[in-house]
């Protein structure tokens, strides 16, 4: 029974973080077939911005989330204007943008490390916003308040994104663009504006996901890499561009990883997750919830 609770608690936490990272990726792919390889570094930056501001200016705790969201969003918009904006009309945009954002991500990472070396002492840092190990018991399993906050924030943000997409004029325009780009343009949707907003929104979510990650581990320049990889795995498993599918897939992946970590050993978690994905993709090449083939006609 305790195993079971442990798996649920830890799976939900992983799932919530993956969902937050993956929803953004799915949103961006859906809107304009862009896979943003700089997504990981944006998570890292979110964590660092909060860290730096907290250390230097004494950032109030409640403002950390909005601040990371805003900072991530601005970085996302900048990434759009120095890469995607100029590449949209290229024939192989889907491929070239991967390479471009991969390069941008590496440059940002290198810049970040250099800056840190000059400004501060050696990494890693502890995230000042971490609530520490305070916890309560469910059955015999301790559940930290940190986890509770992560669930609450992730659920709240995803609900907000869903409301934005379904209830607002801009949200509707984003969905329309994802479903039929030319038709959206015929309605008067300025699709390039949609692209910026979508990338900024996704990057804002990544920034918040970054704080969550860093509250478990330390803040280091490469901390976003593995979570980004997992977020990519989530959206491929779900079917590219399928947002609701990405939520289910994130929870599924989180649960599988947690189950293996609890029942077998920590180091097998990632491997087990990959095995699940490979089998799923062989079984359903378009993803578990995908309706379309990934390649364009």
């Amino acid at each position: 029974m305790n195993f079971f609770i442990q798996i649920i608690v830890s799976g939900l936490t992983f799932g919530a973080m993956y969902a937050l990272a993956a929803v953004g990726l799915a949103l961006v792919w859906g809107a304009f077939n862009m896979l943003n390889m700089a997504h990981g570094i944006i998570m890292t930056l979110g964590a660092y911005f909060v860290l730096v501001w907290a250390e230097l200016f004494g950032l109030p705790l409640w403002f950390a989330g909005p601040f990371a969201f805003l900072a991530g969003g601005i970085v996302g918009a900048i990434i759009y204007f120095i890469s995607a904006h100029w590449m949209l009309t290229q024939k192989n945009f889907e491929v070239t943008i991967i390479i471009a954002t991969f390069g941008l991500g590496m440059a940002l990472e290198a810049g970040l490390m250099k800056l840190l070396r000059e400004l501060f002492q050696a990494a890693p840092y502890a995230q000042p916003l971490s609530l520490g190990a305070d916890s309560f018991l469910v059955g015999d399993v301790p559940v930290s308040y940190q986890r509770l906050i992560i669930w609450a924030v992730a659920v709240a943000l995803i609900v907000l994104v869903a409301l934005f997409l379904t209830r607002t004029t801009m949200g509707r325009a984003i969905r329309a663009t994802a479903q039929n780009r030319d038709a959206a343009r015929l309605m008067g949707v300025k699709v390039k504006r949609v692209y910026v907003i979508v990338l900024a929104l996704a990057s804002g979510l990544a920034g918040v996901a970054g704080i969550m990650l860093s509250s478990f581990k330390d803040v280091v320049p490469l901390m976003g890499q593995t979570p980004m990889l997992k977020a990519f795995i989530v959206i491929v498993l779900a079917g590219l561009g399928n947002m609701t599918g990405a939520l289910y897939a994130a929870l599924l992946i989180g649960m599988v990883e947690a189950a293996v970590k609890v029942l077998v050993a920590d180091k097998w978690g990632f491997l087990a997750m990959l095995v699940v994905v490979v089998i799923a993709i062989i079984w359903r090449p378009a993803g578990l919830f995908g309706k379309h083939q990934i390649a364009r006609q």
């Binding site: 004029t169 509707r172 325009a173 969905r175 329309a176 479903q179 039929n180 030319d182 038709a183 959206a184 343009r185 015929l186 309605m187 008067g188 949707v189 300025k190 699709v191």
Partner: protein, 238 residues
């Protein structure tokens, strides 16, 4: 004579080096119903895509309400008042009928009056009212076409371009669609209508252009077309 609302001059266009339109010129006067007639694959849809801004022409000019619009982006052109009801409907498949209609009224000029406007649309197209919450991809072919028309009408605009309204529909549904188009004409809307089927437009259009392999090979009104056996047989198979 007043300047035409839409004027296309010596238009050339194509895809990847393959030319589709060659030296196409015609006018659409305010309040008129002008038709492009011709078999499939002869550039009718390409022509509308050029005017709507989805395809950049390789030569020639398009004037709308005194402004040059060739090469402008589609989102700009519709803002000026050129509305395209595209071939194959191009709906938003995973959005409800209501949300599709709401996208039709995306432009600021019509967004505020959407609640009243949509009631008018439901009056013209009562079928849509029964389907408001249904996803667009679950609609029948006729319903899809009606949704595309309703969505286009909600965009307001000064000229309505309709691409093959009868394509792939049962005759009884085509009758309904053409009733709507006839009413639109009677209400004074300016319409550019692309059609493959001559009999549908002979009595309706003020002027008919025959588009064949990218050229306009003949132009005149319905009566002249009816009396011109040679044109009918050569281009439209009798």
């Amino acid at each position: 004579m007043a300047e035409p609302l839409l004027s296309v001059q010596n238009l050339y266009a194509g895809y990847e080096g393959q030319s589709v339109l060659k030296d196409v010129s015609f006018d659409v006067p305010e309040g008129g119903l002008i038709s492009m007639l011709g078999p499939n694959g002869h550039g009718k849809t390409t022509l509308l895509r050029c005017i709507a801004g989805l395809l950049r022409p390789s030569g020639g000019h398009i004037h709308f309400a005194g402004r040059r619009i060739e090469g402008a982006e589609a989102e700009t052109v519709v803002g000026l008042g050129v509305v395209l009801i595209p071939q194959g409907d191009m709906l938003f498949p995973d959005m409800s009928v209501y949300d599709n209609l709401k996208m039709g009224a995306y432009l600021p000029r019509v967004r505020k009056t959407f609640d009243q406007d949509v009631e008018n649309i439901y009056e013209i197209l009562p079928r849509l009212k029964e389907r408001t919450t249904q996803l667009a991809r679950t609609l029948s072919g006729g319903e899809r076409r009606m949704l595309a028309i309703g969505r286009g009408l909600l965009a307001g605009g000064r000229i309505l371009m309709i691409d093959e309204p009868s394509l792939g529909l049962a005759p009884i549904v085509i009758d309904q669609i053409y009733e709507i188009i006839t009413d639109l004409k009677a209400s004074g809307r300016t319409i550019l209508l692309v059609e493959e089927n001559a009999s549908r437009i002979i009595d309706l259009a003020d002027r008919i252009h025959l588009l064949d392999t990218g050229h306009i090979v003949w132009a005149g009104d319905g009566k002249e077309l009816q009396n011109n056996q040679q044109v009918l047989e050569t281009y439209l198979g009798g």
